[in-house]
């Protein structure tokens, strides 16, 4: 399918604009905090404006085709190219990364965590933005790899410098886990290239563009493909994270500053699932069929393990982190069915989880700021002290547990539905029973989700105000105040999106479906 090559500069502009902001900020003296913040937020807003313009110019009638496509030579001797483009699968994520960066920056305006150093903090967020947007627009494996890795260092420093008490351990764990995954992933990428090149009738045409692998990857012999898939699987599964590679996530989330947790949950985890949908499965469909049952089993273990983990947590933020493991389990379950319904659900779930869990982490950050603790046992009565905050929290908890009418529902329910009837090729391989059993078990996971979220809400928001927050005279201590202007500004867009996507899921599903159809075509036989 021919890509559409108009406005070729648009994606590069949207991706690299944040770096221009970084360059400007380098010349701002460290003490002049307000100028630095203004430049940063201004850059993020300008980037978002470019993103919105991209969305407006996107041809929704042909969302399966790559748009704003351009391909230039980059590293000739290894045949890596600067090939970029967006289709209906990547556009929502590309845009989401820009929205999240803006709201996180607005929230950070007066919420820079200790030890301060506002300028560096905002610079890191801008660098992260470039890495995230770049990963979604890349249409070349090497370019993808570079952007995929670009987010690593900023996030490491964000957790390690601005994080909680145990930040050094958590950030190192995050770093090493991800490095381990990406080293094997890189070997997988190169092996894939070498094998397809040697198979091809015209080896001189081989290059690292996605197009090359889409055309030549499926011909890789199954046994080789299964091994290469293993390398990619580890790289992406660490990022998702899938059980048993998830152990970095609760630590990283708990110790990260609010902003770090939000970006991590909303975008970084999606780099992994996006990698499965965009790279691993379409390039190596034969191996994907072999791996699908294993992925499904690990996904369901993740769902149940994450949910049980949530029930055992005493810390609100850690609980939300474990709920991420469970939610990403649903996303991976959807992907493992290799059906259009499942992958569409997964893509929807990625966006929904980004919005909802991002919101939950925001709330956790604000609660921590007001009560100076996230211990569930010490919190209560939020609804009485700060009714708006409490209700927003309740709303997000409902969205997170998959209440119909809100965004979370459309990620979970279709995933379950698709797992009941996985792709034809999986059925003919005799995996139908497995997938049905897994569906049943993961349905249990939704019940558990309702359990831990409602229980969390009940313990923290209902009842009488917590003792720690009440001063000696019976008044609320002065730290307790309801949602402030910066919080409203940051949260409103996310809350609206949760409702709108919940009522009109077509918005996203119509966008991603044509592209997904192309991917799943081979699995329908």
């Amino acid at each position: 399918m021919e890509p559409i090559q108009d406005l070729q500069w648009l994606l590069s502009l949207g991706t690299f604009l944040p770096l221009v902001g970084v360059l400007l900020m380098l010349f701002v003296p460290k003490k002049d905090v307000d100028t630095a913040k203004t430049i940063a937020v201004g850059t993020a807003l300008a980037t978002l404006a470019v993103g919105v313009y991209t969305a407006l110019k996107f041809d929704y009638g042909q969302s399966e085709r790559l748009q704003f496509f351009t391909s230039n030579s980059w590293i000739k001797p290894i045949r890596a190219t600067y090939t970029i483009g967006l289709d209906g699968i990547s556009l929502p994520l590309y845009l989401l990364s820009m929205v999240i960066t803006v709201v996180v920056m607005i929230y950070s305006w007066n919420h820079v965590p200790p030890p301060g150093n506002t300028k560096a903090f905002f610079i890191l967020m801008l660098v992260l933005q470039t890495g995230m947007a770049g990963t979604f627009m890349a249409q070349d494996l090497i370019l993808f790899f570079v952007f995929f890795e670009l987010v690593l260092l900023p996030m490491y420093f964000m957790i390690g410098v601005w994080g909680g008490d145990n930040r050094q351990y958590a950030s190192l764990k995050f770093f090493l886990y991800t490095m381990f995954g990406s080293a094997l992933m890189l070997v997988g990428f190169i092996a894939l290239f070498v094998v397809t090149k040697n198979n091809a009738s015209d080896p001189a045409a081989a290059n690292f563009s996605f197009q090359w692998f889409n055309e030549n990857g499926p011909d890789v012999a199954r046994n080789t493909a299964v091994w290469i898939f293993a390398g990619l699987f580890i790289g992406f599964a660490v990022k998702v994270p899938m059980f048993p590679f998830h152990t970095w996530l609760p630590d990283a989330h708990t110790e990260a500053p609010t902003q770090g947790s939000v970006i991590l949950a909303a975008i970084l985890l999606k780099l992994g699932t996006y990698g499965f949908v965009r790279i691993a499965i379409p390039f190596l469909p034969q191996a994907a069929v072999k791996w699908a049952p294993a992925i499904a089993v690990l996904a369901v273990i993740g769902i149940i393990y994450g949910a049980l983990g949530c029930l055992a947590q005493t810390d609100m933020k850690r609980l939300i982190a474990f709920s991420s493991v469970a939610h990403m389990g649903f996303v991976m379950l959807g992907i493992s069915t290799l059906t259009d319904l499942g992958i569409n659900a997964a893509l929807f779930g990625m966006v929904a989880h980004g919005l909802i869990t991002g919101m939950l982490f925001f709330i956790a950050g604000s609660v921590k700021e007001r009560y100076h603790t996230l211990q569930i046992s010490q919190l209560s009565g939020m609804l009485k002290q700060m009714p708006r905050m409490g209700w927003i929290f309740g709303f997000c908890a409902m969205a997170s547990l998959g209440l119909p009418g809100l965004a979370g529902f459309w990620g979970e329910f279709p995933a379950l539905l698709s797992a009941w009837s996985p792709a034809q090729v999986l059925v003919s391989n005799g995996h139908l029973d497995l997938f049905r059993i897994l569906t049943t078990i993961s349905a249990l996971g939704t019940v558990l989700a309702a359990g831990y979220l409602l229980w969390l809400f009940q313990r923290t928001a209902m009842g009488e105000p917590a003792a720690i927050s009440v001063g000696s005279a019976g008044h609320d201590s002065h730290d307790i105040h309801d949602v402030n202007a910066f919080e409203w500004a940051a949260w409103t867009p996310l809350l609206i999106a949760i409702v709108v996507l919940g009522i009109v899921p077509k918005l996203l599903l119509d966008l991603s479906d044509p592209g997904v159809q192309l991917i799943t075509e081979v699995f329908r036989k």
Partner: protein, 500 residues
């Protein structure tokens, strides 16, 4: 019958060496006549001569890709040549030398011995530049000794420091031992081939017919000699002590220049002299690569001294360069392997010199080599911290900094070679890349997240020359990471001439 016909000398081709030789004499003479407080002139002059030698390298490169023998005539043609391979590496050695001069300016015992130091540095660089052109056992050996002997003295430069003396003596004893082993190997190869020309040896060392044992021993001994130079495990034991004891600029020089020279020697040997001896060198280099990466890494993890850590890290980086070399003649991976080695050497040089420049700048204030002395550096020297982070991340191979491309090229080469050998070493390499990250990140953590050890946050004064070195290395590391295409072309197989 043995009438001596003097060789025809191609002065243009020989110009870099001639400029350096002239520099040697001039610096030595000038040193005699300048008063003590103007000794810095010798350093400046040395830098100028190194850059001056770069001019003919550039003109030779511009003029064309014709291969020229610097000396031609009866019995000397093809033994000392200038091809693209040689030019790229000459440029690398000259620039490395220049950066080391920049780093040395305020480090080498101020006052009396500066002149001698720079003379030794120049002659060592001259040896390296010769190494890039040597295509004959004799010229190879002379180049190696030319670069090594001054380096022994430079390692022991801090006269009154016992560790520095130990560094020099250890380096000297093991170096001479390695030379002896290598010389013995060379004599065996000469015995087999009846010629010292590498391409002649390449035709004779086929591991077939009579004297297979002699051939095997010859190949192994010569490789062992160079393995000492590149500090490959198990011949690395001198490196950490020497690196720690030597003045830091000398350490930077040894870990980059001298190591690269060793690899250049290995490359021309493998490509020109041993192409048919794969069954000997491949398992040997393969095992050495795996050991070098792994053991270098594991020991680096435990280091508390930054220089020792960087020493073991450079041992382990050497493993990544040996990796493609081991697979050079497997399934037509010659070209990708050669590229991988050269590209890796260039990127590694920029990055590692940068890291040492930071160590020099920081230790000037902290007077300590402990990693903990970097604690809280971000609070009082954010610029140095960011640069050090860039260098460390590049060494760890994190995009978009230079090092990733070196690692990529190395993986690409061994996967090109395919087969069990290639895949296995690729996995070993990947795991080691992760282990290495741990100790690089440890230093980052110290700088960004730990408190300042003695709460002394007076800003660090960085000398102009060190700043210049930092800018060169930093820009190179960043640019090569984003646009590796700039150097990815070097190391085409045709660059390495097999004869005029």
């Amino acid at each position: 019958m043995l009438a001596f016909s003097s060789p025809v000398i191609d002065y243009h081709a020989l110009a870099p060496e001639l400029v350096l030789s002239a520099g040697l004499c001039v610096v030595l003479l000038v040193d005699l006549f300048v008063p003590d407080h103007r000794r810095w002139i010798t350093g400046t002059l040395t830098g100028l001569f190194l850059l001056g030698a770069l001019v003919p390298v550039v003109t030779l490169a511009v003029i064309g890709d014709d291969v020229r023998s610097s000396l031609s005539g009866e019995g000397v043609t093809g033994r000392y040549v200038v091809d693209n391979f040689a030019l790229v590496l000459k440029a690398l050695f000259l620039l490395t030398g220049y950066i080391v001069v920049l780093l040395s300016a305020h480090e080498i015992e101020e006052g009396h011995y500066q002149g001698e130091f720079y003379v030794l540095l120049l002659s060592s660089v001259l040896g390296m530049v010769m190494m890039a052109s040597a295509r004959d056992l004799v010229s190879l050996f002379i180049a190696l000794e030319f670069l090594s002997i001054p380096a022994y003295m430079m390692a022991a430069w801090k006269k009154r420091d016992r560790k520095s003396n130990e560094a020099g003596v250890k380096y000297y004893l093991l170096g001479v031992f390695a030379s002896a082993v290598m010389l013995y190997g060379m004599s065996l190869l000469y015995g087999v081939a009846g010629s010292t020309l590498l391409t002649d040896i390449g035709k004779s060392v086929t591991l077939k017919g009579d004297r297979v044992g002699v051939q095997v021993l010859g190949v192994v001994f010569v490789i062992v000699g160079f393995a000492f130079k590149v500090s490959a495990v198990p011949f690395h034991t001198w490196a950490p002590d020497t690196y720690e004891g030597a003045p830091t600029p000398v350490t930077a020089f040894l870990s980059v220049g001298s190591k690269a020279a060793g690899f250049v020697g290995l490359v021309v040997l493998v490509y020109l002299a041993f192409p048919q001896a794969r069954d000997v060198y491949r398992p040997f280099l393969w095992v050495m690569a795996a050991l070098t990466m792994t053991i270098g890494n594991l020991i680096a993890l435990k280091q508390t001294n930054i220089v020792r850590m960087l020493a073991y890290s450079s041992v382990s980086q050497g493993g990544f360069i040996l990796m493609p070399l081991a697979m050079a003649f497997t399934n037509g991976a010659q070209e990708t392997s050669l590229r991988a080695v050269i590209v890796y050497l260039i990127i590694y040089a920029a990055t590692n010199l940068g890291a040492f420049a930071i160590v020099i700048a920081v230790s000037r204030k902290t007077r300590s080599g402990e990693i903990t002395s970097f604690g809280g550096l971000f609070q009082y020297a954010p610029g140095l911290t960011v640069l050090m982070t860039v260098f460390l991340a590049s060494l760890a191979g994190i995009p978009p900094l230079g090092g990733w491309y070196g690692k990529f090229a190395a993986f690409r080469a061994v996967l090109d070679a395919a087969g069990g050998w290639g895949y296995t070493i690729a996995i070993v390499g990947a795991v080691n890349a992760v282990i290495a990250t741990a100790y690089y990140v440890n230093v980052m953590r110290e700088m960004w997240m730990k408190p300042v050890p003695d709460s002394d946050v007076t800003p660090i004064k960085v000398y102009g020359s060190v700043q210049a070195a930092l800018v060169i290395c930093g820009v190179a590391t960043l640019v090569l990471g984003v646009l590796p295409g700039l150097i990815a072309k070097v190391g085409a197989i045709t660059d390495l001439a097999t004869g005029p």
